[in-house]
């Protein structure tokens, strides 16, 4: 079910009304049922996958957690009876049992993810290897279903498992409550990837109807629809035209395409998250924020702290830290320092971990070389900016521009340009074509290339571009206002008629100027398949 389908809006309406009509005790079980219905409508076969992940993770975590509690209790009482070495051995023994269960559960579920998402990618690569050795008869592809949102719910479940294993919190001991955590329908399609200790605080609580919370949620949903329908889905037409016809649209148009895509992806993805968070909010549930005005970042590292935040922190907490804090890395660190000197040596482990993280991030986004190269591109950019830090420090000691508006603007433009260039991998068919198109920006752009007809040829009229432009202005204005606090709170403080005009205006603008219905092909959320 697309967020922007009548079916979804009808589903939401029914869930919302029932949620507040039924006894409060029934609210969370009801949400579980609704989530499973939501998933069932998408494809009944998906249910098997999510159920398997739910059950294995639930029991895996529960056994670990129960063992921990039991051992800790026993250990406290009997600590005195053992010598120090014996205590250590006991702890290690206990730990190794937990570790086995943990790894089995982790690998099993990541295995499902890997098999469903990457089998055909692996086969394709083996085949091209075979072809390189003159073997034309490759392995045939297998027909696998990829359950909707599998990357998101698997990561969310594994985050929970790791946290339990690390003793961050105890396991949930109600299977159905845990099932709701995994399947909560607003975030099933495209995240955010919530943490258990975060989402569980409001997910199972009883919520009574609160006008302010509900209206704030509705406002957030409306804002999401505005971004998605008015801006993203409209400019998408031009993006697709540019990508599809690389002979016509190269040079400057490849650049325009990258810029349009930056706008499209931002409006689509943040709009979708707005809808998710807004839907949860109408039911009194707090889903963590996934974006903080990422295009205003002063460098790429900061950008990744502000774009798709829950994914970034997931990779940091569960991949980057465990790898870089591992025994192996500590040893490597010592060795490389001894060999390469302190300054260079200490970077080796960080960069190696970072490389692995970005490779994984790339492949998580999609089973293709485009995404892998995109991920590694991010790694390279971050590494360069890290290495350039001394240079910038020197630069700022000589030239006093830091903190000025011009410098801030330069940083923001730089961030947007770098990210948009990297994202070209996301657009074009394969890696060589992406490089070719990126190169054409520098080799083939010329003023003579520019003409208005080419833009109209992308399937949008002048009016369409005007709508996108005004939509973008609204987006930027809202972002600027947001820097000093929640925009909805600010509007809430205004006089009632003004409030009415703002929200009704936004509603009518979405209704009339939204690119939906017959004549516009409804596009899937771009992040949907990840």
């Amino acid at each position: 079910m697309l967020f922007t389908s009548y079916g979804f809006i009808g589903f939401l309406l029914a869930v919302f009304v029932l949620y507040y009509l039924i006894p409060k005790k029934m609210q969370w079980p009801f949400l579980l049922i609704a989530s499973y219905i939501f998933y069932f409508i998408a494809d009944p076969r998906y249910l098997i996958f999510i159920a398997i992940t739910t059950v294995t993770t639930f029991y895996g975590a529960k056994v670990i957690s129960d063992k921990k509690v039991a051992f800790d209790g026993w250990f406290k009482e009997h600590k005195k009876e053992y010598e120090k070495e014996e205590r250590k051995a006991l702890k290690a023994k206990e730990h190794s049992v937990e570790k086995k269960i943990f790894l089995a559960c982790l690998l099993f579920n990541l295995g499902i993810l890997a098999v469903t998402k990457y089998t055909n990618f692996t086969i394709a690569n083996i085949n091209s290897l075979l072809a390189a050795f003159g073997r034309a008869d490759g392995i045939s592809f297998v027909d696998l279903i990829i359950p909707m949102g599998i990357s998101f719910y698997t990561f969310q479940s594994m985050g929970y498992l790791i946290d339990v294993y690390n003793g961050k919190h105890e396991a949930q001991d109600n299977l159905f409550k845990f099932a709701l955590f995994v399947s909560f329908f607003p975030q099933l399609v495209q995240g955010p990837i919530s943490r258990y200790h975060d989402l569980s605080q409001t997910l199972y609580a009883e919520h009574s109807f609160n006008w302010k919370t509900v209206s704030f949620g509705l406002e957030r949903i409306l804002w999401g629809f505005f971004k998605k329908l008015v801006i993203a889905d409209r400019i998408l037409v031009a993006v697709q035209a540019i990508i599809a016809d690389t002979d016509t649209y190269n040079g400057f148009y490849a650049f325009a395409g990258a810029m349009f895509y930056a706008l499209e992806l931002y409006a689509d993805f943040t709009g979708g998250i707005d809808i998710t968070i807004g839907v949860a909010e109408t039911m009194g549930i707090k889903v963590t924020e996934n974006f903080i005005r990422p295009y205003f970042s002063k460098n790429i590292k900061e950008y990744w702290n502000r774009w798709h935040i829950t994914m970034g922190t997931w990779f940091t907490d569960y991949i980057f830290y465990p790898i870089s804090a591992s025994q192996f890395m500590m040893k490597l660190s010592k060795k490389s320092r001894a060999r390469l000197g302190n300054n260079l040596g200490k970077r080796v482990p960080v960069y190696l971990s970072s490389f692995i993280v970005w490779f994984t991030t790339g492949i998580w986004h999609g089973a293709s070389w485009n995404f892998i190269v995109w991920g590694l591109g991010n790694f390279v950019v971050i590494m360069i900016s890290q290495e350039l830090e001394p240079f910038y420090r020197w630069f700022h000691s000589k030239v006093h521009v830091q903190g000025t508006f011009g410098w801030r603007l330069f940083q923001v433009v730089r961030t947007v340009l770098i990210m948009s260039s990297l994202r070209m991998f996301d657009c074009y068919r394969d890696v060589p074509l992406t490089f070719k198109m990126f190169g054409s920006i520098f080799s083939q752009s010329s003023l003579s290339q520019l003409n208005a007809e080419a833009f109209i040829g992308m399937g949008l009229t002048g009016f369409d571009y005007l709508v996108v432009f005004i939509g973008m202005l609204i987006l930027v204005t809202v972002s600027l206002i947001q820097r000093s606090g929640c925009v909805r709170e600010k509007i809430y403080g205004l006089a009632a008629p003004v409030r009415f005009i703002i929200w009704y205006g936004l509603f009518m603008a979405t209704l009339v100027f939204g690119a939906y219905g017959i004549g516009y092909s409804a596009s899937q959320f771009i992040y949907n398949q990840f």
Binding site: Y6, T461, F463, D464, A496, F500, Y504, F507, M508, L511, V512, F513, G514, A515, Y516, G517, I518, G519, Y520
Partner: protein, 352 residues
């Protein structure tokens, strides 16, 4: 209390805004494609018709109720629309017998060839104009293509919102009213484009009409029987789309099995006196005014003699109504003839 009033007021303003926007954005069909405006015209006129024609362009471009009135005193109406599908015809008939009691319903059988929903734009032209009733709801459900949603019929703004970029003066002018575009359902054309070289229809893999088509033909038959309305099946004399003998036989069989009259005007071209070099405006697809009046003469004669449809020219109220239609009818003939002389087309420059 104050808060309550504020909420009511906001709701009223909000709904009014949506209503006005819908009215502004929905297509008006006042120039160019007039067919979209025809269905809703029916509701404005007096309803005690003796004959109601229901069907596609083979009726509404080929038969002139004005001629029937002037020459036979028959009070008739054509509930026609472009590519009207048989279930749409059925539900229009269902609605008609709820509103009035005609002696005869004439149905053109060409639409039997469509067993499934066809085209969103044509659906809209037939369905949007209908008043809300169970007939409309059922007709929508029977007609929707895969890309359509029922809610878009309830709130037309969901369908037509993207017209914001091609709004014209017409959209403002006709927000709340429409001009008449037809003459009791008749769509007039006076120009001539001769039919030449009529090719045989391409052989089909299967000539059998679909189950769905028969289902609604059965329903139509039953509806007329139950309501004591005489159902007459016709096939218009126009040359395209091709009417296969295999199709004709099926209708003949159906008519005789159900005790209905079926008249295939293709076989009566000589009696009608049709001249394909003069009586069509688009090479044989549709008749022009001259052709339509020839067919109307035959039909009027038939309705009077064989079905005993009364001459009602002595009723003053009806006379008054028809005088107005005739006046518009003649004005439209003048307008089209003048345009034809001046510009070589019936459309004036303002319609281009």
């Amino acid at each position: 209390m104050k808060k309550f009033i504020a909420i009511i007021l906001s709701l009223v303003i909000a709904l009014t805004g949506i209503f006005l926007a819908s009215k502004l954005l929905e297509p008006k069909y006042m120039s160019g494609i007039l067919e979209g405006a025809m269905i809703q015209e029916y509701y404005d006129d007096p309803t005690d018709h003796n004959v109601v024609f229901i069907g596609d362009c083979e009726l509404y471009e080929n038969i002139s109720p004005v001629y029937l009135w002037e020459n036979y005193g028959i009070n008739s109406y054509i509930r026609g629309s472009a590519q009207q599908l048989i279930w749409q015809s059925y539900y229009l008939a269902e609605e008609t017998v709820k509103m009035e009691h005609p002696d005869v319903i004439v149905f053109n059988v060409l639409s039997m060839k469509y067993n499934e929903p066809q085209n969103e734009a044509y659906n809209r032209m037939t369905l949007d104009g209908m008043k809300w009733s169970s007939s409309k709801v059922n007709s929508i459900n029977a007609s929707m293509t895969d890309e359509e949603n029922f809610i878009e019929y309830v709130f037309p703004i969901l369908r037509y919102h993207s017209r914001w970029s091609d709004l014209s003066a017409d959209d403002f002018k006709y927000m709340f009213h429409r001009d008449k575009v037809s003459f009791n359902g008749y769509y007039m054309r006076v120009d001539v484009k001769a039919a030449e070289d009529v090719p045989e229809g391409r052989p089909l893999a299967d000539y059998q009409f679909g189950d769905n088509s028969y289902y609604y033909l059965d329903k139509l038959t039953k509806l007329c029987k139950d309501n004591d309305v005489k159902l007459v099946l016709v096939k218009a004399p126009t040359l395209y789309p091709y009417w296969y003998d295999e199709w004709d036989q099926q209708i003949k069989d159906y008519a005789s099995a159900n005790g209905l009259d079926y008249i295939n005007f293709l076989e009566l071209q000589d009696e009608l006196g049709l001249d394909w070099s003069q009586d069509t405006y688009d090479g044989g697809l549709h008749l022009n005014l001259a052709g339509a009046e020839k067919l109307s003469d035959y039909v009027g004669n038939m309705l009077t003699t064989e079905y005993g449809i009364p001459d009602r020219r002595d009723e003053s109220a009806l006379n008054e109504y028809w005088d107005k239609v005739i006046e518009r009818y003649n004005a439209e003939i003048d307008r089209q003839t003048t345009n034809l002389k001046l510009y070589g087309t019936v459309h004036g420059p303002e319609e281009q």
